[in-house]
Amino acid sequence: MTEEALALRDIVKSFGATRALDGASLVVRRGTIHGLIGQNGAGKSTIIKILGGLYQLDAGRILIHGEEPRSVTPRLVEELGVHIIHQEALLVPGLTVAEALFLGNELRHGPLLAPFSMRRRAEAIVRETFGVSLSGNMLISELSAAQRQIVQITRALLNKPRVLVFDEPTAALVRREANRLFDIIRGLRDEGTSIVYISHYLEEVRDLCDVVTILRNGRDVATVDPRTTPMAEIVSLMINRDIHEMFPKQVIPCGKAALTLQSLGKAGAYEDVTFTLHAGEILGLTGLVGSGAKEVLQTAFGLTRHDRGQILIGGKPARIGSPGRAIARRLGLVPEDRRHQGVALDISVRENMTLASLRGLTRFGLIDTRRERGQVMSLIERLGIKTPGPDARLRDLSGGNQQKVVLAKWLSAKSDIYILDEPTVAIDVAAKVEIYRLLGDLVAQGAAVLILSSDLMELQGICDRVLVMYRGRIVRRLVPAETTADEILAAATGALAPLDKAA
């Protein structure tokens, strides 16, 4: 019996041209809670999916309890006692809690299922482990995110795993439930189970983990003891910051108020959100999943309603109940899910670009195709979009160029307030720089840009101010020149006490 419950060594994994893992290693000793942290895109999820057999590795070795599995398939890995609780709950929505818990290991009376026993057992197990009562008859689709998480964890525990991997388990849990989960995890460790714990929340990692491995750009840069290593050191290990030339930042004098949110609140999402975005300004907004930052953007663009407070555009109160109204007030949104919300992949570059501005391109009610084509050609040139032509299907463009088409859509609609949600995720570096330059040009011409990002370098590199949200509130208002990435990350992960009197 070896001391190493799990050893992933020199793992390499590429997706097309991007190398997600570049020789990352993770060695977990038996009976420890091992934290795995890193920025978005550092390779945390990829390494876990490789361990779980969801991705095939390109190079490297995997040892589970000292054995090298013949092949890494989800089934074999589970047989070796490794159980992974994925970030997005993998439960069948149409099943009941009891059915989901016992799926594949149903209790039976002879050849027949024993639904009542399963229901009673399910309810008892959930009560024992979490101290909450949950009806075994509820459908998975009726559960809250936290309840689903509970079901998933309970299901994993039923299999008595030797290694248990948690991928961001507390993102959907409230404090009390999270504390309960930590107690359970500690109890499992004391019984000899090895735990891998992936989280964005640094405070959790510090309180819970015995060892922490930090991933950056697909490599493990350090493995440290979180109780003796200063938080600041861990944070700076997570961030790589030697490439400031990536950010072509122009300094523009701030203009008039473009978009103001006043004490905006939405139950369960965000609370007392107040800020003003000015013409000529790039305002950064950041926060983890569940911080409410994304919901704030959606409200500003009319996709969801707020309960309290008001929105002002150009200093005057505005009712933005739908994206159509937001666009009429010259707002434009670049959504995070580009392939489903940003661009229609199966129609042409031209049609995508003018989708939100056709009314301005008509003559006698008909689309003036010559004017449309002229406008599209000039946007393609201005944004440097690499496309076979204006009539090429969007599918045939690279991610970066597709993203430029989304921006072109709002340029065509003459937007002057641009809201961007993680605009450079999954875009290669060259295209990122071009998009930063473009945003710089936009604000130079008097537009205002609000950008939600979890890329700290990006926030520091291009923003004039950065607002950090944590659990629904703005907890820090920072000026990049006077702050560090460490401070932004610390605020976003709750490692800093919230400022009560944020200016």
Binding site: P323, A326, E351, L358, L366, D396
Partner: protein, 327 residues
Amino acid sequence: MSASIAAPRFRVTQLVRWVTPTALILLFVIFAVASPTFRTPGNLLHILVNNFTLPAIVALGMTLVVSAGGIDLSVGTSADIAAMVAVTLMSLGHGLALSLAVGLGGALMVGVVDAALITVLGISPFLATLGVLFVGESVQQLATNGGTPIYLVSNFPAAGLDALAHGTALGVPAPLWIVLAAVIVVQVLLGRTPFGRHVRAIGAAPQVARYSGLPVRRATWLVYLLSALLCGVSGLLLAATVKSYVPLSGNAFLLDAIGAVFVGTTISREAKPNVLGTLIGVFLFGMLHNGLLLIGWNFYWQQVAIGLLVFAVLGASFATRRLQAAD
């Protein structure tokens, strides 16, 4: 860096787009060889007027609906309700114009129900219009004592009605003019107006349409209303042709219309519904009905042949597109 721009795949795409026109030409040649009657100008005009116009008008509406990502199974209901209302009014002694107008109003009501079920209640277009189809059948049977046709006695607005079905202008039969008008309307709407662009975007990527602020609900309403209206026109033309209302006769349009739209998508580069493709599809089916009849196949075999044709065209097209995707 230039590797990020995929080269357009002309070779295979072109191949797909020729499947339907090739089938059309091939069948034409086969029928022309097998039956001397088939290739006479008289018969070709007969195909156009009797096997093409009515399903074409319905299929044009269906082209709009499918473009918007929906489907309309209630086309026969719209056509039948229009005919039922108009013929009943005429048989009661009302004037031609009024009867036709109220008939179209009846068809529009079917569209209103479709659109309301889809946009207000959020029922999927397939189930919503299927429900309307069933309800429509029952309504007609209840209204006609279980399906008794209503015949127009010859003295009544027969003259005007006859002109609609059998008249000519500039030597071209009136129904063909109506088809031409419908073609122009649908082609202009779909190809040249913001509405048409919105419809195509809604069909291609509904979330993108929402995130781009498009009037999704309004476009959906319009699409189902237009489809119902065109079906109503078709139903009235049918009634004018046979000088009667035969309950449930409109359902014959349904499969031809859907088949024609999907067969028509194969000629488009983006594999999207389009007016020309739909017309080719309808003509293909019309020619098949007529040709098979002339070479002596009975009605039931015609249905089999049309089914096989749809499988063949769509199968060939999907197979080629898979090849293309595997490239």
